[in-house]
Each structure stands twice: as structure tokens, then as C-alpha cells.
């Protein structure tokens, strides 16, 4: 499993000491807020509506039991006993006090964790596939590439003060579970004509107020060229990206305004003339990193053990959970089990310290001491033997996290919204809760089938509403919360931006509106196998528009 090397340990320890000194100087007044703000942001510390907020990195969403226990310990010692897992595979604490943050960072460092690159205009923590190293169709574990990029980007002198934040995502599978098409740079591990492994490089995707689907910059990049090539991209962006207007400063705007072909010419020119050898990873480095991500040695087991099959028959709730929340594993007899952090009426992505410890116990006992955080705000136990699955399920039921709803209508992504966030214009969490309660019935959810609802409490789109099958964007209209609905968004290799349905709806109207949209889909679908997205793509916006606005005319 991923671990620090000696350099990383020293780097993080030094950063903690440096930040402790900066906090002390802030508290004594030697630094004012204007001077301190960029320093705290470099260490993941925001100031939100009710309190400071600390965003902790979980590189590639991978963590072990000891690390999860530390997250629980921090929640109880310095926060209010819980944390919020985010759409970038991180965790946020909502209530830390400034004076305690150096202690929190020091505690994190003892388990090889930190809050570096979780904020500010730098290359942010790189995200990846929660099923990395597990998915049968995967070409190569994407975390190896992500870690190489992390080592290259941390404290990169040229890219520490970019015009705006910069996000990478890497997938090793054709089926994209990392939403690479809505990242500044999306990297897909692919095979070349001779079967050699390399990269497909996408650029200029993103959400926020100007959503864009990334465009292909290179169909195939030899593996060894990765660092010089992304350095060339960053150089072109750093040189030509706008700095006069933060809303136009992301690379997606530069790519859009330059045009992908002209942008590609600039990148290729830089790539051709730069000192590539100075940037290329030293020989053997990829192998060294790969060893950190070496797959656990799992012994093949029966694909349908008798006891497992019997429990599915005896406990139909378990059978439903298995059907929805487990995914194929490359080793026969194992699955990746998704722990839904979306219990009916719950706060999407929140987990209490007790729940974190219980998940750590389950990971240690039944998943080779490994967990993954997903960009859908759930947790994955990546290596569970089928024979252990019922014990895992019972363990989750004991902490209220046995919802069999992965990918269903109640598996809602929601940003913290106006309940926590200083930027928000409307609430997100209670909207998610109301919709979740409306669709509480498992039977009904299964009847509806795969359907993603994603909710953002402002135009910055942290709740990924642009790529929800149903997207909800909360705005403020003359002091009243108003929610715009988009339909047809998608986050995978088939990514699309949702299209606006029409005028927005009031807070109280939302559960009815969403239910109506779902009912229209159920009426229009050609059989149970046609998903919401497929139906929408076949029939378009009109039937939904008609049904929702006809009575209002």
C-alpha cells in the first residue's frame, strides 16, 4: 500500500513545524490576515460560515485502518466528532480552532497524512479510480501514475503560484470512475498499437460557473514522456492563462479561447524544445512507486461459496446490498464492497468517529487493511472475500451504513452548501435529505434503477451538479432559495453536461419536482433496462419540460 518515503516524511514534518510557527505569528499579530491567508490555504485551512474548515488530503482516496482511526481521533479531539468526505476523495473537518490546527497536522503526520495541496492556486491532490488495482478490466493501477505526478507537483517552484487551482484525475480503466473529463487534465492509461502502455491526455475540462468537457490533447503519449508533457501543458497555461479575472483563469477557458488545435501546437512546441531529460522521472522510479501499490496477495476462492449463497437466501436485505453495493474484483472469490455514506435522510458524505472506527475495524479484518474514498462521497472496502461479506454487512448495519443504494436515486452527492460554506447561495444538504426520504423505499429505488442526483449550493459546483443525471443548483433569488434543475449530465467516459430544464423551483417544491421527473422517466422508458440517462438521451428535454411547466402557464 502507498506509503511515504523518507523524503516525504521530512517534507511533511518540516511543513508542520513551519505552519506551527506561522500560526503562532498570526496569533501574536506578527502576521495579519492578508499575509496569513495564502499560508493557511497552502495547508488546507479555510474560514467558513461558522468556523475554520480543515481539508485533509487522502491521496487517491486510499487509506488504511490506522489512518482512518486517526481521522476519528481528530474528529473527537479537535472537532465535533465527525468529518465530511468530499467529492475529491478528501475529508473536511468543519469546526477546528486555529490554535489547534498545528496539533492536528502533527497528529496526521504520524500516520503519513497531511493537508498539503488541498487548497490554493496550486496543483491539487490528484484523484483516481476508487477501484484502482481491483477492477478486472484495468490496464494498470492509476495510482502509480498519480503518485508520480504528486511527487513532481509538490512544491514545484514553477507551479506553486498558478493563476488558479489545477486538478488532475487519472484512470487506468476505459470505464471512467474518476470523472477525468471534468478535470483540468484528465489522464487515461491506454495501450498503444503494439500493446505498450501509455497515456491518453485530455485537457480543459471542469465544472464551476463555466462547465466544459475536456478535449483530447494526445491520443497516445509514451509512458516515459508523461512528466515533460504535463510540464509543457502547465508552462503554456502558466504563461498564457489569464490572471486578471479569477473566473476566467482556469485552463478550460484558455483551451476554449485558444482552440484545442492551436493549444496543442503550443504544448507540442514547448515539449519539443524543452529540456525533457531534466523533467523525466529517473529510471526505476516508476518501479519503485509501483512497489508501494503492489496488489495484496489474495488466494483465489470459490466464486459462490455455499454459506454466502445461503445468507443471500435467508436475508433478502443482504442480497439487495450485495447486488447494488459490490463490484467485480480481479481475483476470483473477492469483491470491492461500497459502503454507502448515504443512509436515508442522512448527510451525504458525513461519518461520525464511531462509524470511522467501525469501518477501520472492517477494513483490518476483511479488506487487507485498506479503504478507498470515492468522488461520490462513499467508502470502498476494496478486497473482501465473498465468504466474509455477510460479516461486513452486519458490521455496517450496526453503524447504520448498510444502505443498499449505490448508484441509485438516494446515492446523492451534495456539497456542504449554505449550512457550512461561506460561498454558498443556498442549502444543499437538507435538499438531499428531503429527496432521500421521498425515495426511501428500496423497492422503489430498484424499480427506478441507476440515477445520479448531484446538488451544489452555488455556481462553483462542488456538488458536481453539471454531471448529475439530475443536477440541482441552488441560487439566491432576491433573498429566496431557488433551485435550477439540469438533466442529462454524466461523469463517466460518456461524460456530458446537463442541460437546464427551465426556470428554477423553490426549496419546498424540490421533492415533488424530482419525483415528477422520475415518474415521467418511468412512463417513457422502453422497458426496465432503459436507464434514466438512456431515456433522456432518446426523448430529450421536451417531455420533462412539458410536464413540469405546462400547469404553470
Amino acid at each position: 500500500m502507498y506509503r511515504y518515503d523518507e523524503f516525504d516524511r521530512r517534507f511533511v514534518d518540516e511543513r508542520v513545524a513551519e505552519f506551527r510557527d506561522q500560526v503562532e505569528r498570526r496569533l501574536t499579530g506578527a502576521l495579519n490576515e492578508a499575509e496569513f491567508k495564502p499560508l493557511r490555504l497552502m495547508n488546507g485551512l479555510y474560514l467558513q460560515l461558522h468556523a475554520y474548515m480543515l481539508r485533509v488530503a487522502i491521496p487517491y482516496g486510499t487509506l488504511n485502518g490506522r489512518q482512518m482511526r486517526m481521522l476519528a481521533h481528530i474528529a473527537e479531539t479537535w472537532d465535533k466528532g465527525y468529518g465530511h468526505f468530499t467529492t475529491r476523495q478528501n475529508i473536511q473537518y468543519n469546526w477546528p480552532k486555529l490554535k489547534d490546527v498545528p496539533d492536528i497536522l502533527e497528529a496526521l503526520a504520524t500516520v503519513e497524512m497531511h493537508a498539503i495541496q488541498t487548497s490554493g492556486n496550486c496543483i491539487r491532490n490528484i484523484t483516481s479510480d476508487p477501484f484502482a488495482g481491483v477492477a478486472p478490466e484495468e490496464i494498470e493501477d492509476p495510482r502509480i501514475t498519480a503518485e508520480l505526478l504528486r511527487q513532481w507537483s509538490s512544491l514545484h517552484p514553477e507551479f506553486t503560484y498558478l493563476g488558479r487551482k489545477f486538478k488532475f484525475a487519472v484512470t487506468g480503466s476505459e470505464h471512467d470512475r474518476a470523472a477525468i473529463k471534468v478535470h483540468d487534465i484528465g489522464i487515461q492509461i491506454v495501450r498503444g498499437e503494439a500493446g505498450e502502455v501509455g497515456y491518453r491526455v485530455l485537457v480543459g475540462g471542469g465544472m464551476g460557473r463555466t462547465p466544459m468537457i475536456a478535449k483530447e490533447l494526445r491520443a497516445f503519449l509514451p509512458k516515459a514522456d508523461l512528466l515533460p508533457y504535463v510540464e509543457a501543458i502547465l508552462r503554456v497555461y502558466n504563461l498564457h492563462g489569464r490572471r486578471d479575472n479569477k473566473y476566467k483563469a482556469r485552463i478550460k477557458i484558455l483551451v476554449h479561447e485558444t482552440g484545442i488545435d492551436a493549444f496543442r501546437d503550443q504544448v507540442e512546441r514547448e515539449f519539443a524544445t524543452m529540456d525533457r531529460a531534466a523533467v523525466t522521472a529517473p529510471e526505476g522510479e516508476m518501479e519503485r512507486i509501483a512497489a508501494y501499490f503492489a496488489p495484496p496477495e489474495l488466494t483465489e476462492k470459490p466464486s459462490a461459496p455455499v454459506a454466502f449463497e445461503r445468507m443471500k437466501t435467508l436475508d433478502p436485505d443482504f442480497a439487495q446490498w450485495v447486488e447494488r453495493n459490490t463490484s467485480a474484483h480481479r481475483v476470483p472469490g473477492y469483491v470491492a464492497a461500497t459502503i454507502s455514506l448515504k443512509p436515508i435522510g442522512g448527510v451525504p458524505g458525513d461519518a461520525t468517529a464511531e462509524q470511522m472506527r467501525a469501518m477501520a475495524d472492517l477494513a483490518e479484518s476483511y479488506s487487507v487493511d485498506e479503504m478507498r474514498i470515492t468522488h461520490e462521497q462513499n467508502v470502498v472496502l476494496p478486497h473482501v472475500a465473498l465468504g466474509d461479506l455477510y460479516k461486513v454487512y452486519r458490521g455496517l448495519a450496526a453503524i447504520g451504513l448498510e444502505a443498499p443504494n449505490k448508484g441509485l436515486v438516494t446515492d446523492i452527492i451534495a456539497c456542504p452548501g449554505l449550512d457550512y460554506c461561506a460561498l454558498a447561495t443556498a442549502r444543499s444538504i437538507p435538499v438531499a435529505q428531503a429527496i432521500s426520504k421521498r425515495f426511501a423505499s428500496n423497492k422503489r429505488q430498484r424499480e427506478i434503477g441507476p440515477l445520479s442526483i448531484k446538488i451544489s449550493g452555488c455556481i462553483n459546483a462542488c456538488g458536481h451538479h453539471h454531471i448529475g443525471h439530475i443536477g440541482i443548483l441552488g441560487l439566491d433569488k432576491a433573498g429566496v432559495e431557488n433551485y435550477q434543475i439540469t438533466l442529462g449530465g454524466e461523469s463517466t467516459e460518456d461524460a456530458a453536461l446537463g442541460q437546464r430544464l427551465g426556470p428554477g423551483f423553490g426549496y419546498d417544491e424540490l421533492p415533488d419536482v424530482i419525483e415528477k421527473i422520475v415518474d415521467i422517466y418511468l412512463d417513457l422508458r422502453q422497458g426496465r433496462r432503459e436507464t434514466f440517462l438512456q431515456t433522456y438521451r432518446r426523448v430529450g428535454m421536451e417531455p420533462f419540460k412539458e410536464a413540469l411547466y405546462a400547469t404553470a402557464d
Binding site: R26, T28, N32, E33, L47, H50, G81, L418, G479
Partner: protein
């Protein structure tokens, strides 16, 4: 035409704790009921300047004026965002309270 003036108080985040505070008669307070209320533009200017002084003195971060209604005697922010800030907590049960409430439901 200039916007109609509404009674206002100054709010900010406490430097150390990070929570919402309000400028009162004798300094920064956590209960908006104890906040100084500006009833004219001139008073608001003075209040705002006192807020900035609090930031300069490293007591608070990001002071700004918020409009309030004083109909009930206790200042109540006009904007929902500020009403949520004044409450000091989210509008929903959170943390350890959240799952317990769901189980009871």
C-alpha cells in the same frame, strides 16, 4: 437612487475560534442581542471602522456590515445566510446527532 438604509450590525469571525462574533458596546460578543446597532449611515460608517480596527488588532477576521431587522428588539439579520451564521450551526442535525435522529425517525 441610493439604496434605503437599514439598521446594521458588524459581524466577523473570531480569529482563534473561527466562530461568528458581533461588535458590541464593550467589544466583540457572541450573542447578536448584545451587538451595537447602527441606525443611520453615519453610525454604520463608525461601526464598520470599529470592526476594521478589530481586525487590525488581530481579534477578528473579515468584519462586515449586515442588515438587520429590529422589530422584535433583538436584531435579526435580513439575509438567510446571515441568519444561519448567527445561529452558529447548520440548519440540520449534524455530526453525532444526525444518525441518532434518523434512527429515531
Amino acid at each position: 437612487m441610493a439604496k434605503e438604509f437599514k439598521p446594521s450590525v458588524v459581524t466577523a469571525n473570531d480569529l482563534i475560534e473561527g466562530d461568528s462574533v458581533f461588535l458590541g458596546a464593550l467589544g466583540w460578543v457572541r450573542d447578536i442581542a448584545e451587538a451595537r446597532v447602527a441606525l443611520s449611515r453615519d453610525e454604520a460608517e463608525v461601526l464598520e471602522a470599529d470592526g476594521v480596527a478589530g481586525e487590525d488588532a488581530n481579534i477578528v477576521v473579515g468584519p462586515y456590515l449586515i442588515e438587520v431587522s429590529v422589530a422584535t428588539g433583538r436584531p435579526v439579520p435580513v439575509l438567510r445566510r446571515e441568519r444561519i451564521r448567527v445561529s452558529g450551526v447548520p440548519t440540520i442535525p449534524f455530526g453525532v446527532a444526525a444518525p441518532a435522529e434518523r434512527r429515531a425517525a
